[in-house]
Amino acid sequence: MSERIKTLSARFVAERHYLMGFIYGMVRDLAAAEDILQEVWVRLAEAAERGESILEPGRWCRGVAKNLILHHWREKRTAKVIADSELLDIVEKAFEENEEPWLERRQALMKCIDALPGKSKQLLRLKYDQGLSFADMAKRLRRSKDGLKMALHRVRQALVACVEKRLTSLEPET
């Protein structure tokens, strides 16, 4: 493996959560998002092998991911997946405008999830691990869809607040 590919590889692994957020947010299917993420990596490695100049790897990867997302949507047309290329462009722009401190956030999030009560964790698992719709979650948990939406929103808000609190506590005092 050349030094260039090693450097790109290290950077990709380190920054992949940010890219994953972009991909998963658009395709909303974890398995498909992982496939796309891996394909982006393969293409990045190929481009590096070809000696292509990649000045902004993050941007480059989002561009490739965008095409792959479009392709994924095209393949899933029959599955009635809601797709919108205009929204895809907007979200790409949003990610370009907002670089997050990804690594610290992820570490903080893992700790915050650990601290959640069992029922809150269950909601998160059903939604983000098993990928159930609110309708399916409502059937399984015998609760209303709106109630579940609100409950999930509150769990997420609690997590956001927890992450922010942890990050603030990590900041050096001035």
Binding site: I90, K93, F95, Q130, A135, R156
Partner: protein
């Protein structure tokens, strides 16, 4: 919960309606809204990954249990794969060393009573395989029944003499097991089981009752003659080198009798039949310097001018384009990926990144440069219109969809441009009457455009189930051949050649037999034979009337998956050129092309043999 949060939840839930989607987009018109969605998506992605990672770690310790339902078996994330792989490696390195010491491996100094074979020669890396363990093999080492022989590396080889007068010659990256044909290790003949790679099995003397038996992934071959030799490989299947073979197909149980020079061909429906293996060496026309880039994409192109001038191109900057007659001197030119002659042979088009250079084919002087508008959109393929007035250009790049352009050569202006593909355009073909332009893409579609009707939208053919690598119109323009295969040539996934009927707008025939991607496809000049080159290292010949593969040859040295054969047939149909990742360009006799009118093979004009 504010309205934006609500809309984002609906999007996430895939239950958003059109009006709500439009509303969501209005919320994202300002920077604050976009910051919110970036944060939301980033957070959701992290959440999903974190939960998956937690589950993967929890599953190992039994901690993760969902009490509401059985957990869906979604693929684990890369992080968890790394974690599991790293843990596995650590365990192997700690435990494996201890186990290794307790595995009784044969040693030349203490031959086992159950000795089944012995290494004659070892070149490169070869191993004896027992259970999950490997011991480096060397000359004279004894092999027991049930043990395997493995070679690692494309250039490795091992020759093993078996007790019952069989000799096994293993090629690179091969794994073979030698088993006893019955419970009695001392009396029974060897049963050779090929798991992967390339193997030559030959009988060194008459085997009489205990005849050679070789089990391959395709089926079982048993010698019917006293002396026999069999070549078995992933690329070409089972080829009889010498003697007579009884072959039983594993899937269907169908039995075949194969004679020397025949191989087992398969149809996509699973039928098997005997076809002819064409042996012989092509003449090396040129070789390109090693680039280190021969991995997973097409890198070579070949083209003939009507006058018989041959042009080839490699991916390497050093190699570039080589040009010359099949007998004469060769000249060099910069260029990459693709090369095409105009129909009158006076002009040569080459590609360089996003630009196309037009050269005088006689002097090689550059007469025109067609500059790509987007620097990163590389030229992937070229095709001249039959009147030579237009050049079609297929592009792909790291950003944006695959594009097809039509340039007017008289003015050097871009006439038209289409974006019918969501991935790189890999191949182009223009029908002989100049009416249709076909483009194939990695997005698994072929787009057909009627050049005479600007208003007519492109017809997108989504019949290919795999990325499209090459296209070719039949000489009468009634059929379009589509070569397909997985994007990564290293994948063991069979490519297919589809024959698209331009009149009925349907796939008339699917031709399958290659074991990896089909990278190139051409029709014979009489239109009755289709020739395909593949990443499986073979070139195959298809009788279009019968819809079957009638022969193949293996002409290049690269390993399956590290090959991508480009093909071109000379205008008079008398020679076939192949180029591949072994960096060689070879010229072959075309005696293998069938001429149905004569119901015989065309004869090669001997005086012209290069």
């Amino acid at each position: 919960m504010n309205r934006l949060d609500e809309l984002l939840l609906l999007w996430q839930d895939q239950s958003i309606g059109e009006a709500e989607l439009a509303e969501l987009k209005t919320h994202l018109a300002d920077e604050a809204g976009r910051a919110r969605i970036a944060q939301e998506f980033f957070f959701t992605g992290m959440l999903a990954e974190t939960l998956q990672a937690e589950k993967a770690i929890g599953a190992a310790s039994g901690a993760w249990q969902d009490t509401t339902t059985p957990v869906k078996s979604a693929p684990s994330i890369i992080a968890s794969r790394f974690l599991v792989a790293a843990s596995g490696l650590l365990l192997l390195s700690v435990v494996g060393g201890v186990v290794w010491l307790n595995v009784r491996m044969p040693h030349p100094a203490e031959p086992s009573s159950a000795a089944f074979g012995q290494f004659e020669t070892v070149q490169g890396e070869a191993y004896v395989v027992a259970d999950q363990h490997r011991l480096p093999a060397h000359r004279g080492q004894v092999l027991s029944a049930g043990q395997g022989i493995a070679t690692e590396g494309a250039n490795s080889e091992a020759v093993v003499s078996m007790r019952d007068s069989l000799r096994l010659k293993l090629g690179g990256d091969t794994l073979v097991f030698a088993e006893s044909d019955s419970g009695d290790r001392h009396e029974a003949a060897s049963k050779i089981v090929l798991r992967q790679g390339e193997l030559l099995v030959e009988a060194t003397r008459s085997l009489k009752r205990n005849r050679m038996r070789v089990q391959t992934p395709l089926g079982t071959a048993t010698a019917e003659s006293d002396e026999a030799a069999l070549h078995v490989s992933e690329a070409a299947g089972v080829i009889v080198v010498r003697g007579e073979i009884h072959f039983v197909h594993q899937e269907t149980g169908k039995a075949l009798h194969l004679s020397s020079g025949q191989y087992v061909a398969t149809t996509p429906a699973g039928d098997v039949y005997a076809s002819e293996f064409f042996s012989g060496n092509g003449n090396v026309w040129t070789t390109f310097p090693k680039s280190g880039l021969e991995t997973t994409s097409l890198g070579y192109g070949v083209a003939f001018s009507p006058q018989g001038t041959l042009a080839t191109v490699s991916r390497t900057a050093e190699g570039g384009v080589r040009l010359g007659t099949i007998h004469g001197e060769q000249r060099g030119l910069s260029g990459e990926r693709c090369v095409q002659f105009s129909p009158d042979g006076k002009t040569l088009a080459t590609a360089e990144k996003a630009n196309i250079h037009i050269h005088d084919a006689a002097t090689l002087a550059r007469v025109q440069t067609l500059e790509g508008q987007e620097r990163r959109s590389r030229v992937q393929c070229l095709a001249f219109s039959p009147d030579g007035k237009y050049l079609a250009v297929g592009r792909g790049g790291s950003r944006g969809a695959g594009t097809v352009e039509l340039w007017a050569l008289s003015t050097g202006m871009l006439q038209r441009s289409w974006q019918n593909h969501s991935a790189d355009v890999t191949s182009l073909a223009i029908s002989p009457n100049g009416q249709w332009l076909a483009s194939g893409s990695l997005d698994r579609t072929v787009a057909l455009r009627k050049l005479s009707d600007e208003e007519m939208p492109a017809q997108v053919i989504d019949a290919p189930a795999l990325p499209v690598w090459s296209l070719s119109f039949s000489p009468n323009g009634k059929t379009l051949a589509i070569a397909t295969g997985p994007k990564d040539f290293r994948l063991r996934e069979a490519g297919m050649a589809l024959l698209w009927d331009m009149h009925t707008q349907n796939v008339r025939q699917s031709l399958g037999g290659h074991t990896r991607a089909i990278t190139s496809v051409v029709f014979s000049t009489n239109g009755q034979t289709l020739i395909t080159g593949s990443a499986d290292t073979t070139v195959r010949f298809w009788d279009l009337a019968a819809g079957r593969e009638y022969g193949m040859f293996k002409g290049h040295k690269a390993a399956p998956g590290f090959e991508a054969i480009a093909l071109a047939l000379s205008p008079d149909g008398t020679c076939l050129v192949t180029a591949s990742f072994d960096r060689m360009v070879k010229i072959w006799e075309t005696t293998w092309i069938r001429d149905h009118s004569a119901t015989a093979f065309l004869s090669w004009p001997r005086g012209d043999v290069p």
